[in-house]
């Protein structure tokens, strides 16, 4: 009896997590006539995949998303890691205040910030530029980066930092040679979260970018729909393509993330 309950729970959980994606996959390979039916597709076709690229700059769009997400992630790690190191290991006034102030930044709902941000970005001439996305993404992903990484750096014993200093390192050398390699699980965890955030972000991308060739994936997919037709097959195909990089990135960092998440959990 217990066994059955366990299996039932397991299947329910898998369906809940993977169901939508499987459904999307199935939809993307159905022939158009088959779209509204339930169950397995009657035939397998890749027409939707071809269609997703046909007459649209979808290749460009994917590239844009990759650029924005990768650059944002790198910025966040570079700034976040060095700032988190300072917050965790160096003595200076107002550490706590700084950490909470950074958290406050991420508290604003995007919809409240989008109009003023639009004005700022327009005035500095970054409207319709990928840079105009990377900068605000970095701003809003940084607090999270800072919080996670500060936790990781705090977990690294102070004596290691002191040992590195006595061994002749400047504070920055101690950071780079000793603390940073030890914070690798934290960096991996943060990288994946920031990457997913910038990959999926919709509101700013929709507002700040107007040229179709410069759009990112979520916006581009949402604008697939024409006046008379909802191309469900193509939307599904595009979504599958958009999800693949996330899966690849996650797989890549997976081992380290597991270590990273548990370390965070024990720290509390």
């Amino acid at each position: 009896m217990k066994r059955i309950g366990l299996w039932f729970g397991l299947i329910a959980a898998i369906t809940f997590c993977a169901g939508p994606f499987v459904w999307q996959m199935l939809t993307s390979i159905r022939p158009e006539s088959d779209l509204t039916s339930l169950g397995m597709p009657t035939a397998v076709t890749f027409d939707s995949y071809v269609g997703a690229f046909h007459g649209r700059p979808f290749g460009h769009v994917i590239l844009n998303s990759v650029i924005v997400a990768v650059v944002t992630t790198l910025f966040c790690l570079a700034v976040g890691a060095s700032a988190a190191f300072a917050l965790a290991k160096l003595d200076f006034r107002g550490r706590k205040a700084l950490l909470f102030a950074s958290l406050a930044v991420s508290m604003f709902p995007p919809i409240a910030t989008v109009s003023p941000l639009y004005l700022i970005i327009r005035s500095v001439g970054l409207l319709d530029e990928l840079t105009g996305l990377i900068i605000p993404y970095t701003t809003f992903a940084l607090p999270l980066t800072l919080w996670i990484l500060t936790g990781f750096f705090e977990d690294i014993p102070d004596e290691l930092y002191r040992a590195a200093r006595v061994d002749g390192c400047t504070p920055f050398q101690a950071f780079r040679k000793v603390l940073l390699p030890l914070a690798a699980p934290g960096l991996a965890t943060t990288a994946i979260l920031v990457f997913i955030f910038s990959w999926n972000e919709f509101l700013y991308a929709l507002t700040f970018i107007s040229t179709p060739e410069k759009r990112t994936i979520p916006v581009a997919i949402s604008l697939f729909a024409g006046e008379h037709k909802e191309p469900w097959g193509e939307i599904a195909a595009a979504s599958v393509i958009a999800t693949l990089p996330l899966i690849v990135v996650t797989m890549f960092f997976q081992r380290k993330i597991v270590a990273g998440l548990t370390a965070g959990a024990v720290k509390g």
Partner: protein, 349 residues
């Protein structure tokens, strides 16, 4: 080679906690000096101030006569061994030991030779390719020592380096450290809360309590002539007996020695003997509280007038808890302390 001078050194943490309250210590070139005291006495902070890991609130630190207050740890060129070993987990033993030399940008060939030499001297040359997590506590301790010695430091700081080892290993390493100091002739400053380490290792001992130097002297002198009640209580195992003269029934003799002042009387356990045969009429007597045979010695704790006095029973002592016992001692072996100031009173004996 380096001498170290601390002048009126003070450290107050933000929030007003005063940990080091004006320390004056003069450490000669090649000396082995131990800072000892209970936890929170300021000994580790003093060490960090010397290494440059913390900044003093006031006072000066001199190394080889030069004021180094504003120098970074790198400029001070001081090696340090930490209680937790603080080995870099992501580097193998070889890289751990080479690290300070790599940071100093020495020639790779020189680095290799020095690491090898040092590893051989410490008996860890077989471990060079292992990661710290693959080592036992004793091996880690040696690697930490190696990382300090590979620099050929003129000044080496030890922050409770043996505290995490088990007792047998600690005694072995203690002897090795002393030998190492004799060979290297570098200046060693050693922090510990373990009075046995302080006594056995050092040329001179600095007893710290509440951020103040209680006494600075060679171990034998500190043991024989503790400057106050705290020092007397802290050093020596078993602990010194400290009580009123009345308990020992020697008020008359003590009054003569102290000139009538109110005093506390201290006497080391090895100077108190369990009397044999019939006690003289006025001998201090009581009941045996507990017997601790040590092999060469038997410590007998005797309860009298509500206080417990540890005395020497000799290896053959056969008494048990509850037995009646009386004590014998030489009045001249008593150390007297002023009851108010707790400072030692010099007497002619």
């Amino acid at each position: 080679m380096a001498s170290v001078t601390l002048e009126n050194l003070k450290k107050t943490y933000p929030g007003g906690v005063e940990v080091v309250k004006g320390i004056d210590v003069d450490i000669a070139d090649g000396e082995f000096v131990t800072l000892v005291g209970p936890s929170g006495c300021g000994k580790s902070t003093t060490m960090n101030l010397i290494a440059g890991l913390e900044e003093p609130t006031s006072g000066t630190i001199r190394i080889d006569g030069q004021v180094v207050n504003d120098w970074t740890p790198k400029d001070r060129d001081v090696a340090m061994v930490f209680q937790s070993y603080a080995l870099y987990p992501h580097m193998d033993v070889r890289r751990n030991m080479a690290f300070p030399l790599e940071v100093a940008k020495l020639d790779p060939k020189v680095i290799e030779t020095r690491v090898k030499e040092t590893a051989e001297r410490l008996g860890i040359d077989a471990l060079l390719d292992r990661k710290p997590k693959e080592l036992s506590g004793g091996q880690r301790q040696r690697v930490a020592l190696g990382r300090a010695l590979v620099r050929k430091p003129k000044l080496c700081l030890f922050d409770e380096p043996l505290s995490n080892l088990d007792a047998a290993l600690r005694n072995q390493m203690r002897a090795e450290l002393k030998k190492l100091h004799e060979d290297l002739k570098a200046t060693f400053i050693y922090v510990t809360h373990d009075q046995a380490e302080a006594m056995t290792l050092s040329d001179r001992v600095v007893v710290l309590h509440k951020g103040i130097v209680q006494q600075l002297a060679p171990p034998k002198e500190i043991y024989a002539r503790p400057s106050n009640v705290f020092v007397a209580n802290f050093l020596g195992s078993p602990k010194i007996n400290m009580m009123k003269a009345k308990t020992l029934r020697c008020e008359e003799a003590v009054r003569k020695l102290s000139g009538g002042r109110e005093v506390l009387v201290g006497i080391r356990p090895e100077d108190v003997h369990i009397g044999t045969g019939a006690p003289p009429p006025d001998a201090p007597a009581g009941k045996v509280y507990v017997v601790e045979p040590m092999g060469a010695e038997t410590w007998v704790m005797v309860e009298m007038e509500g206080e417990r006095i540890t005395a020497r029973g000799g290896a053959a002592y056969a008494g048990r808890s509850g037995d009646v016992a009386w004590l014998q001692f030489d009045v001249n072996k008593l150390t007297l302390f002023d009851a108010k100031s707790e400072k030692r009173i010099d007497h002619s004996a």
